[in-house]
Amino acid sequence: MSETKKFLYVNRKAPYGTIYALESLEVVLIGAAFEQEVSLAFIDDGVFELAKGQDTKGLGVKNFSPTYSALGDYDVTRIYVEKESLEERGLTLDDLMHLTYEDEDDDWAEKDSIHLVTRAELSKIMHEQDVLFDF
C-alpha cells in the first residue's frame, strides 16, 4: 500500500442553510476507512457547524450534529477551529460541542479533538497537507 497522505477537509459553510456541511461530514466518515492522516478545519461560517444545542424539530429536517461527536470513533482527532472566525462571530469554545477521542496510545484517555488555532497557525497546518478537500 502506498504511504499515507495528509488530508485536510476544509469547512467554511454553516449547517442547514445548505447541504455542504452534512455531505462533507459524510466524506469524512467514509474516508476514515482509508486510514489516511486526517484533519478537519472549520473556518468562517464553518465554525457554526460545531455549535452546541442544535434543535431542528421545528424545521422537520434531520439534526446531524450528533455525528460530529462520533468523529473520535472514526480516528478523527485533529479538528482545527479558526480563532478569528469564532471571535468575529462572537463565539467561544464554550459555545461549541465538546468533541473528544480516546487516545489508544495513552491508556484510552479521553482527550479534546478541537484545537483552537489562529489563521496564521492554520495556514501553516494547511501548507503541511497533501490534499485539501473543499465543499
Binding site: R12, D44, R119, S123, M126, Q129, L132, D134, F135
Partner: protein, 98 residues
C-alpha cells in the same frame, strides 16, 4: 509545500478572497476564475490587497465579463486553461476558496 489558491467568487459577494489572502504564504499563487476575476479589476477596491502576490487570472472569464486586459491590475498574469493546468502542476496542492 506551496498552495495554488483558486478563488471563484466575487469579492463583492463573498469573503473568499479576503480569507484566501489571510492564508497565502510566499511561494503560493492565486488564480482567479469565474466571478473571482472581478477582484482583479484595477479600479476595484481589492486591487491593493492583491499587490505583492503571485496573481493569475483566467482570461476566458475576464473576456466573458467584458473586462479588457488593460483594466486588469498591474502584475496579474492572464492565463488560459492550459496555464491553469500548469499552475496546478507547479504547486503542491490546490485550495478552492469556494
Amino acid at each position: 509545500m506551496s498552495i495554488l489558491h483558486v478563488v471563484n467568487k466575487s469579492p463583492y459577494e463573498k469573503n473568499s478572497l479576503e480569507v484566501c489572502i489571510g492564508y497565502y504564504q510566499d511561494g503560493d499563487a492565486i488564480l482567479l476564475i469565474e466571478d473571482g476575476v472581478y477582484a482583479a479589476m484595477a479600479t476595484g477596491k481589492f486591487a491593493s490587497a492583491l499587490a505583492g502576490k503571485d496573481l493569475n487570472v483566467l482570461r476566458a472569464d475576464l473576456s466573458a465579463r467584458g473586462i479588457a486586459d488593460d483594466k486588469v491590475v498591474d502584475g496579474a498574469k492572464l492565463v488560459d486553461y492550459g496555464g491553469f493546468v500548469d499552475l496546478v502542476g507547479s504547486h503542491g496542492k490546490v485550495q478552492s476558496w469556494l
